[in-house]
Every structure is written in structure tokens, then in C-alpha cells.
Amino acid sequence: MSKLTTIGAAARSVAPGSSLTFSGFGHAGHPLAFVRELIRQGTADLTLHAIAECWPAEFLVATGRVSRINLSNLMFEGLGRCRAISRAVEEGEVAVDDHSHLALSLRLLAGAWGVPFLPVRSMAGTDLAAVQTGVAPKYARVRSPFSDDEVGTVAALRPDVAVVHVNKADEQGNGIVYGAMSVVDAQVRSARKVIVTTERVVSADEITAENQVVTVPGIFVDAVVHTPYGAHPGGMYDEYDEDLAAMSTYYEASRSRAGLAGYFAEHVFAHADHAAYLSSLGSRRLFDLRADPALKIARGQK
């Protein structure tokens, strides 16, 4: 049976109070069409396990949908701090628990492997280990069974939902991501539910022809949603560049709460769905972002 569904149905399957983790890195590969739909539906009290999902986390915090974040780094590379997140933390609206990238990645990997903890060398001796503000402990030291040394360990995490944006997927959710893969492997294997959003829906045969680069095995996937330009205003490797002007529009708006309210009214709530969002951008803008197949950046970019 096909797992293809609408973005609305997929977003409704995320219950209020859920914990989520999103694909993406830097300004690329985030499932932002899905995030916009989640915002439209008002799903709130979310917990995020955020390694590199600056844009999903910022959008969801800016719209008041997030209560807690387990994070390792949230910033907009080249722009600066994620202002909505910073403001929400400074004003006590969102609780955070900090990790190093490796430690948080290993927490997901432990969840993926089905072990309650994994050893880690990072974080020892720092406040990342000493200050634990999460619902459950993240870090503990144990005696090594093979020496007299103490070793650090991190606790497994199993997000309720992973939402992963891919270049192409078949109707069973076998998904291919080109370029670097961030922590998608661990995310799809640790989450209880996996939603794949994809630039292109392709036949199973097309996936089989490239089966050596399948990043998301369909057996882990619950729903597939077709969202061309689903990472906009961010980019997608081998598809399209970041939309720097659109990113900058958001970043300027994020200087104030009023600015943010205006941004989300115009770019999210004004549109019934992703198709309407894309239409509002216009064809010229979308096609100017297309990446050259060899250079992987848009024509005219240096």
C-alpha cells in the first residue's frame, strides 16, 4: 500500500506534546514545507531534539509551538543568532538542555541501535555534562569494565517523530539524499514515527537503480509527502540554492515579535497549503534558484 499522503494529514499525525527531530544542516535540507503546515495546524507544546535544524526550530519557537529543546547548536551560519530562540530562552519561555554535536548525535544513535547508552569522550569536565536540565538525565559517568578509568556516557533518545526531507523517494518512503547526510541515519532509525517529505516521487525501479545511495529505508517510514521546493527558503543539494533574499526577509523580521507576527501572517497563515506558498513566490524566483548539475550551485553564483 502506498504511504503517500497529503501534507495536512501527515502534519495532523503529530500529536501536541510530541518530541520531534528534523533533517537538514546549515541552510539546506530542512523540511520547511512540513514545518509551515505544522504551524498552520497549531500543534504545540513540542519538544525538539535539535542538532542542526536551525530553521525548523526557529520557525516553531517563533510561533510559540515549542516547550523544550535538547540542542547542540542553533544558529544561522553567516547571519548570526537564531533570534526567536534566543529571545524565548532569555525570557524563560522555552527550556533547553545543551549538548555537544557528537553527544546529541550519539543519543539518537543509541536510540537507533536499541541500547540505553553509548560511551562518549566529549563533554567531560564541562558544564555540558554538569548542568542537566532535561526531563531525564543526559550524561553519566561509569567505571569502565576493562580498566580503572571512568568513562562518560550519554542516554539514548527516541524522538516521537522524525521528519526528513529527501531528493527523491518512492511511495514506500525509500528515500535518497544526495551530498552530505547530516545525522539522517540515526534520526530515521531512532524515531517512533518517520515522515518523509520529498522533492520528487519516483518509481520503485528508479530507487532500485540507485539502491546503493538509499539513505532512508522505507521500512522505517510511515508517511511520504510530496513537497517540491520543500526546503525553501533554505536550499537542497543538487536541486536548488538557498534563497538568500527570502532568508534575509525572515532574519530582518525576527528582530522583533511584531516583525515575526507579520512574517508568519504573510508567508505561512496567508497560504492554505504548500502549493499556495510556492505560487506566491512566483516561477522566475523558483527557477533562478535551480542548481547546475555539475557545479551544484545556481547559474550566476560564484
Binding site: 544542516f25 546549515g26 541552510h27 539546506a28 542542526a52 540542542l71 547542540s72 547548536n73 542553533l74 544558529m75 551560519e77 553567516g78 543568532r81 537564531c82 530562540i85 534566543s86 529571545r87 532569555e90 525570557e91 524563560g92 527550556a95 533547553v96 545543551d98 549538548h99 555537544s100 554535536h101 557528537l102 553527544a103 548525535s105 562518549v120 569522550r121 566529549s122 563533554m123 567531560a124 569536565g125 564541562t126 558544564d127 555540558l128 548542568v131 536540565t133 578509568d149 571512568e150 568513562v151 551530498g179 552530505a180 547526510m181 547530516s182 545525522v183 541515519d185 540515526a186 536550499g235 543539494y237 543538487d238 540554492d241 542548481a291 555539475a294 557545479l295 551544484k296 550551485i297 560564484k302
Partner: protein
């Protein structure tokens, strides 16, 4: 040729990069410094980015660590987990880090100013910085120099320097050797082998020791053979301005 503060910081940073090193790095000034090293004394340096990109040869300067300019020209592309595990596996010679606060032992804060739970300024967090400082054989700190940054004690210890002093890293079980230097817009600093505390090694041309002390909230030791930082050469400046960052993305 005259030069900017960024340019002397870049050149001073590049001098820490040895030929053949695998260097874990982010974008910005450190990346420019690494490409300067590669174009001059360290042609065989391999850069590793936390995005999972190893040893790229970009056609133009990258704007982000996951930039397609890096991904499409690398010797290996994987993912974040793989690059961080290469680091934890002990294969990285040098890491280069920035900071918001740093103390005399090179401990860094990039998490929060003020209290952790209700900070006056919430910062981006560790990212891979803690992993680099924990696991790379050594690391270097590159930052602007002022009293808000060079503090008596960091509000939140995100990334380990020499922790509380001699032996502290070993007691914590950290595999890496810790910070070997600090490059700022005022000078170049090392860490005393006995006390693990920061010492002034050289001041940049036109900067006095008093300037450095005025910009530092803790007491700084001074190397007996304190010198002036060797200024960027004309050829280094030419490479930076015409080949590496001609558009002035970072410099």
C-alpha cells in the same frame, strides 16, 4: 602593504597549520587562514568540516560548512556523525575555534551569558566545538580581544581548555591535548607548560602590552622573549585579496 586586523589574525592563524595536518574547521576567518596555509607553507593540509566534508578544493570561497562548493569537490563526503567520530577516533591534528568568553585556561563559553536557565544573552551552543576541544590532538582559539570576551571566569563552560589547570584534562578523561594558542586582533598567546595559564607571546605591530592588559579581565603572564607579531607579507596579502577571498566575504 598596510593590513587590517582581520588580515593579521588570518595570517597568524595560518602559521599554526602544519603541512600534512588534518584540520577540523568551520567557515569564516579560520577557513580563510587554512586556505592561506594551503596556498603557502602547507599545501597538503586536509580540512574536515562537521558537515561530513573532507578535504574539499572549492572553486570559490564557501559561505557555509555544508556549502555545495565544498560538498561537490571533496575527497570524501559522509555526514556529521562520521566526521565527529573521525574526530573522536583521534584522527584530527588541529581544530580551530571561536568563542564568546574565554578564561585564563582557555575554557570557552559559547552557550549563555548570565545564568544558564534565564540568560541575559542566549548564544548558539557548543555545536562541534566541545567535540573538537575534547578530541583533537590540539586546538587553537581565534577571537576578538576585549574585556567582555577575556573574562576571569566563564559564565558557562561549554568547551574545555585546560579546565582548572595542570592535570585536569587527564583527570576528566579528555583524549585531546587542549588549546595551544589564542590569536586575537591584539596579539598571539600561548599557554604556560607548568601552570596551563595563558601567556602573551607576541603583540601585533602598533599594539602595546598595556593595550592587551586593558582588554583582558584576568592577569596575563608575559613570555620573557615577548616579540612583535610578524606582519603579513605582501605575498600573503596578495593571495588573500586576489585568490582566496577576492569578494571580501570574510575579510
Amino acid at each position: 602593504m598596510s593590513f587590517s586586523k582581520d588580515e593579521i589574525m588570518t595570517v597568524a592563524t595560518s602559521r599554526y597549520i602544519a603541512d600534512g595536518d588534518t584540520v577540523f574547521i568551520g567557515t569564516g576567518l579560520p577557513m580563510v587562514a587554512a586556505y592561506l596555509a594551503k596556498a603557502t607553507h602547507a599545501p597538503n593540509v586536509a580540512l574536515m568540516f562537521e558537515s561530513g566534508v573532507l578535504d574539499p578544493r572549492p572553486r570559490s570561497i564557501a559561505k557555509a560548512v555544508g556549502d555545495p562548493r565544498l560538498v561537490s569537490t571533496a575527497r570524501r563526503v559522509s555526514g556529521m556523525m562520521d566526521s565527529l567520530l573521525m574526530l573522536q577516533g583521534g584522527r584530527v591534528d588541529l581544530g580551530v575555534l571561536g568563542c564568546a568568553q574565554v578564561d585564563r585556561f582557555g575554557n570557552i563559553n559559547t552557550t549563555a551569558i548570565g545564568s544558564y536557565e534565564r540568560p541575559s544573552t542566549r548564544l548558539p551552543g557548543s555545536g562541534g566545538a566541545n567535540d573538537i576541544a575534547s578530541c583533537a590532538k590540539h586546538h587553537l582559539i581565534v577571537t576578538r580581544h576585549n574585556r567582555r570576551t577575556f573574562v576571569e571566569s566563564v559564565d558557562y563552560l561549554t568547551t574545555p581548555g585546560h579546565l582548572t589547570g595542570p592535570g585536569a584534562r587527564q583527570r576528566a578523561g579528555l583524549p585531546g591535548g587542549g588549546p595551544i594558542g589564542v590569536v586575537t586582533d591584539l596579539g598571539v598567546f600561548g599557554f604556560d607548560a607548568r601552570t596551563c595559564e595563558m601567556v602573551v607571546e607576541s603583540v601585533h605591530p602598533g599594539v602595546s602590552l598595556d593595550d592587551v592588559r586593558a582588554a583582558t579581565a584576568f592577569e596575563l603572564a608575559v613570555k620573557p622573549d615577548l616579540s612583535e607579531t610578524k606582519p603579513p607579507s605582501d605575498s600573503e596579502l596578495d593571495i588573500l585579496r586576489t585568490r582566496i577571498d577576492p569578494e571580501g566575504v570574510y575579510l
